[in-house]
Every structure is written in C-alpha cells, then in structure tokens.
Symmetry: C2
Subunit: 399 residues, 2 copies
C-alpha cells in the first residue's frame, strides 16, 4: 500500500528479526538513528498503567541531544514492574554503545503483549547485529516500519518536504497501530524524523499540535494503550530550519500532514475493519464538546456493528451523542450519513433504507456528519466498524 | 429458565401480539394493572436523547395514584420529536379508558428500534383487546414478560416475599434487556410491583437504592439507551407495610434482591454472550472510584474478546483500570481471575496459561477480582464477553 519513502538527511534505519516473535519470518526490532544530536520531543499515553519504555523515554524528553530510537514489537514490556524499567534502560544502553552515544540519548518503544518480561538475551545479540546493518536507504526504512508491526497488515510511513531559506527540508514518519486504539493516545508507536533545524521547544509544541488533530482523533476500540508513544527527532542535517512565522507555519503544516497521514493509516488498517469512518461533529460550543460527542459515537459497539452490517440504524448515532456528557437537546441535532439526511432538528426524516444501506455496503469510506446549533466548535474524528474478524483476532491473542 | 411466578395481590397482567412486530408469533404488548391506586416511583435513563415514553412517564412520577403500565416492544418511540410524545400519551389514554383511570395515572414504556413512528392503529385495537384478557394468573404474568422481549432469549421475572406485621407481602418484578446495556441505566425496561403499603417517598428512595447496586452495575456494551425505565408500583393490597426501621430494612432487602435477580438475568441473557462475568473491584478510596474502574474494564472490547476466547490476557484488565480516570499506581493493584493470582502489587505472577485458559473455557461464570490499596470503597459489577454472535446480531438489526 505504500511506496518506498526516503529518510531525511542524516538518518538511518534498520529492521530485523531478533527473536522476540517466535516466527522467524517476522521482523521485531527496529532502529532509527541520527548521525548527530537531535532536538527531540515526545507525546505519550495518559494511561496510568504504562509500559516501562514509556516511563524511560518520557523522562528523557524533551531533549537537545537525542540520537536514536530503539523499537521492538511482540512484547510491550508493560505491567512488568521494576524489572521492566531495568530492561528498557538496558535496551537503550545496548544501542548507545553501538553508535557512540550516551544511553540517555537513546529512546525506547515496545509494543505487543502486556505483562511478560522481555527476552533480554535476544537484544544482547540482536541490537549489535541490527546496528551493523543501519542504512539510509528507503528499503531499510521500509524494513524498520515492518519491524514495528503487530497485527498491522501493512507498514505505515509518510513523508513531506518543505522549502526553508531556499533549501529543501524533509519530514518522514513511521507508525504502527491496529488495535487498543483510543485517544490520548491510540495504541500506537510513531517516530517522526526531520532534517530541519528546530529548537526542542518548537519540537515539543509542534508535536503536541500535530498529535491533537491526528493520533488523538482516532479510535478503533476505545481501549487506551499502555504503550502509546510519538517521538519527534530533528537533526538539522538539511542546514535549514524555520526562521520566521511563515516558515514556522509551513513547518507545522508539513508536520501535521505527516501525522494525519500516519494516523488515518492506522484506521485504514484497524483490526478486522471493513469500513473507514470519518466523523464530523460541528456546531458545538467548543472543540472539547465536539470531541466528546465524536468519541462517544466512535466508541459505541452498536454504532460500529451497524456500520459493519450496512444497517442505516441512525438512532444509535444520535443516542450515543445523548450520553456524551455534553448538554444538548434532540432538536439541536441533525444527522447526515453519506449525503443522506436522516434526522433533522430532532425529528426523523423519511428515507429509503435500501438506498442508504447500499451506500454503506458499497463504499469502504463512510462519512457521518452530526451538526448541532450551539456554536462553531468542531472536530474531525476517524474510526472503523466492529466486525466478527475483530472479535476473532482478539479472542486469542496470547494463547 | 424461569418457573411461573405469582403477581402480588391486586395486580393483573397480560401479554399479546398487537402488530408492532411483523411476526405474529411474537408478543409485543404488555399491560400491568393494579385494581387500586399505587404509590409509585421511577428511575430513567440519563441519556439526553431519550424516548418519548421516558419523557411522559418521568413527568408523572413519583405519584400516589398510579394504576398501570403499558409496554410495547419492537419500536422504542425514541428520537420521534413532538409526534412521539403525543403517541405515548395516546397509549396511556387508551389503557386508562379500559380500566377507568385518568390517563396521567398510566405509565408507558417502549423498547425497540429508534427513530420510527409508532403504528398507532395497532394500539387502538390492541390495547382494548389486551385489557379484556387481564388476569392475575402466573401464566398471564409470564406472557406479559415475554411481550417485553426484543432480542432477549428468555423472559426475566423475579419474586420475593417478606413478613410485615405478621402478614405476608410480595414483591414481583419483570424486565427485559439484551443489549444497549450500560449503567445509568441499561437498555432495559423493568416493572416492579408490590402489594406492600408504602409511601411515594419510600417508593422513590427504595427504588433508587435498589437500582444503584443492580441495574446501574451492569454493562453489555457501554451504549446507554434512550429508553431505560424502572417503575415501581405499590398498591398496599396485602394490607400491611413496613412500619418500623427493621421492617423498612426487610422491605429494602427484598426489593434489592428482586432488582439484583432481574439485573443479573439481563447479563445472563446478554446478546451473543458466552460468559457471565462478575467483577469485584475493592480497596478503593470510595465506591465511585471502584465503579469507574469496574466500568472501564467492563466496557473494554479487548477485555471482553479475551474472555470470549478464554485468553488469560490479564494485561488488558489492568490497563483498562489505568485509563478509568482514577488516580492509581501499578504497585497498588493485584488481580485474581477465577481464583488464579495473575498480578500482585504491580508485578506479573508466573502462572500456567493453559490452566487459566481451561478455567475460562470450561466455566460460563467468570470472576475477576481487582484489589487496590486505597481504602474500603468497593463495587460489584456484572458484564459479559464480546462474541461474533453479538456482532452478527447487531450488524443488521433494522434491515
């Protein structure tokens, strides 16, 4: 689904199988390394039960001297107590030694099963072996993206360029998703690299802005992960950075685009999903109220199964809005699904169920527009349907 | 699954097919009538998008002169605007005329598809026809219970007796559930009748107490319905009522038991469920924190699919606690599933996955005990697993 994409200047990557996953055909270790110090920032899960790698990386960010990120899939190193913390730090130390950096300048992410100790012996040989294969080639970046996947069916990468001071700078990102995806944040890991020169402060504020409208606006199943991490590394290797408001705006726009592409790819590849749903909630008092309504709708198993079955059971959508914790009256709401007006000012609109059902069945993309009359607060949110395949995939993940 | 149960003295009931449901084999209209005025109270959905019957009944309660409840299944008369309100009031008027009561003394409940107008012509003939068959027999009570069912697979009834002033008083209740079940309240309709003599004040406070630990502690899918209603009618026909603290306590206990039996029956009959899950969250600062943790766990599709697959993926349970909005640390938590200690003081405990998986596979009843170290706040909560059958049932409900 993705073409081979380039890394920004000064970055290299690699993805290998080191043995966390039993299947030797599956890559499970990715490294992302800059040849020089990076301004860096991170945004992490707000789950109070969080993985050891989240604790270790969060403590180290923001930072002006970051050099690398080590990522494994197959085991999240979460709910593993003190030993998990030691293991996460050891992973960063193993990579630091290979690239001549301090352990504190290496960040770490893990994704996979919760509650099992990492097989550290796999990293003791795997990380040095991987480091020897680091490359700036698109193929190597692609393999690193594959090595982050759990139940993802395709690697997720994005890239964008912008012109700063007459020269080209690039932003390239990579993420994994699939399930345990809910705002603040999705069960996802994401590394975004840029060769633009920016301060750690701009890295932090820029990343927060990009995440708010992308990774924090997607939900597969409403279960907030222990391991979500988005890490931005900016190494300045392009020799240019944003130096005025117009350039800062252009940089933010490019960063937002990369984050948005990656976040929507997570929904496109959501576990078992048949439909990609864009939910626009508008006319609210503020963005927060629009967000709460969107999340209530997106997390409702009844809304999600109706979409799965191409069932125009729109009452489930407006009733989810009713329990979102936002003051509203039925007559404040109107609902349009795939261009069909179904509910207007609190009263049902006559429609042909077969026609709407066909539209839901024949289009992988579904658009739900819920409009209120309270103000100009709005949000765009992405979710998917709930299918038998999701249940199958999740009914026996560990055994 | 249920034996034939008696009505309290002075009550009669009936269940017939009147034509809301196309299948003539399916009952869709139930009446519950007292031969004299009742002290009555109700507890209703907190969803701001609520059915017209909820609006009409809520306005009429508490009340000292209630006489009856009319219930239909197959159409919830929700999201139907002003016309829905007129229709709900018309239903009460049709029954009031048959039993010689004021329309305001009749309450109304509807369950089924949202957003369609009621076929009023069915009630114009159906309600008078049903009223002619009202009977105090257990068979008639059973038919009334069946007439409230939507995707329920068995009728849900309960009864209890208590001795007051040397005489027997009875409490009998009936409800329907199946899905769109989440606290405050489940998608459920419930009518509880008693021949004890109580004041409207005791009816209201006693019903609130009974609902808090029963119907508000169950979740099938976390989608809060538009139509949830629990109505208590107390007609005093036994000639006795609670007259002192001991008797009031005994009355409350009997009322709680009836509500608990009905609420857990809803979970036993949850759509597509294979497992009945009792979730005990203890050691919290207060009941509210325990409740929030229990609800986060119960509503997680990942927890529910793991139970479906008999997968001892306990990390999903503790990670759901982590995003419940309750301040906690991992080391505060220990987890026991079906008597197996899996997580203690924030660290994983070695266990045999096959043994735990067998226990989950071989027992329809699953017990999850999550213990914190914050205090004595606790809650008992009931939920079910998420299965492919749930998805199937809900993917084409209207079409």
């Amino acid at each position: 689904m993705t073409d081979l994409l380039p890394l920004p200047q000064g970055f290299s990557a690699v993805g290998i199988h080191c043995g966390v996953k039993p299947d030797t055909q599956k890559l499970d270790l990715a490294l992302y390394v800059s040849d020089r110090a990076c301004a860096s920032a991170g945004v992490f899960t707000t789950n109070l039960v969080c993985g050891a790698p989240v604790k270790v990386s969060r403590e180290r960010l923001p930072r002006s001297t970051a050099r690398a990120v080590v990522v494994n899939s197959g085991n999240s190193n979460a709910a593993t107590g003190e030993r998990g913390i030691v293991d996460a730090k050891t992973m960063t130390g193993l990579l630091a030694k290979q690239i001549g950096a301090a352990a504190e300048d290496v960040l770490v992410c893990s994704t996979g099963v919760i509650g099992r100790f990492l097989p550290m012996e796999k990293f003791e040989t795997g990380i040095p072996a991987a480091a020897k294969q680091l490359s700036s080639s698109p193929e190597s970046f692609h393999n690193a993206a594959r090595a982050m996947m759990t139940t993802d069916t395709f690697p997720k990468q994005a890239t964008a360029t912008l012109t700063l001071g007459g020269k080209i700078a690039r932003i390239s990102g990579v993420c994994k998703g699939a399930a345990m995806i809910a705002p603040n944040m999705a069960t996802m890991l994401c590394v975004i690299m840029t060769d633009a020169a920016i301060t750690p402060e701009l890295a932090a504020s820029g990343l927060t802005h990009a995440v708010a409208d992308s990774f924090n606006c997607i939900s597969v199943d409403g279960h907030e992960s222990t391991s979500d991490s988005v890490i931005l590394l900016a190494n300045g290797a392009s020799g240019v950075g944003p130096t005025n408001d117009a350039e800062r705006t252009a940089f933010q726009k490019a960063l937002d685009e990369v984050a948005m592409k990656l976040a929507t790819d997570i929904i496109r590849d959501a576990e078992g999903a048949h439909h990609f749903v864009e939910l626009n909630v508008t006319g609210c008092r503020n963005r927060d109220e629009a967000f709460r309504i969107a999340k209530a709708i997106a997390d409702s198993p009844l809304v999600k199964t109706a979409i799965c079955g191409a069932d125009p059971n729109w009452g489930r959508i407006v009733s989810a809005a009713g329990y979102a914790g936002v003051p509203l009256k039925e007559e404040d709401m109107s609902l349009v699904v795939n261009d069909f007006l179904l509910y207007q000012d609190g009263a049902p609109v006559a429609f042909d169920p077969k026609e709407v059902s066909s539209s839901l069945r024949d289009n992988r993309n579904v658009t739900i527009n819920l409009t209120l009359k309270h103000g100009s607060g709005a949000v765009r949110f992405w979710t998917c349907d709930l299918t038998k395949e999701y249940v199958e995939l999740n009914a026996d993940y560990t055994t």
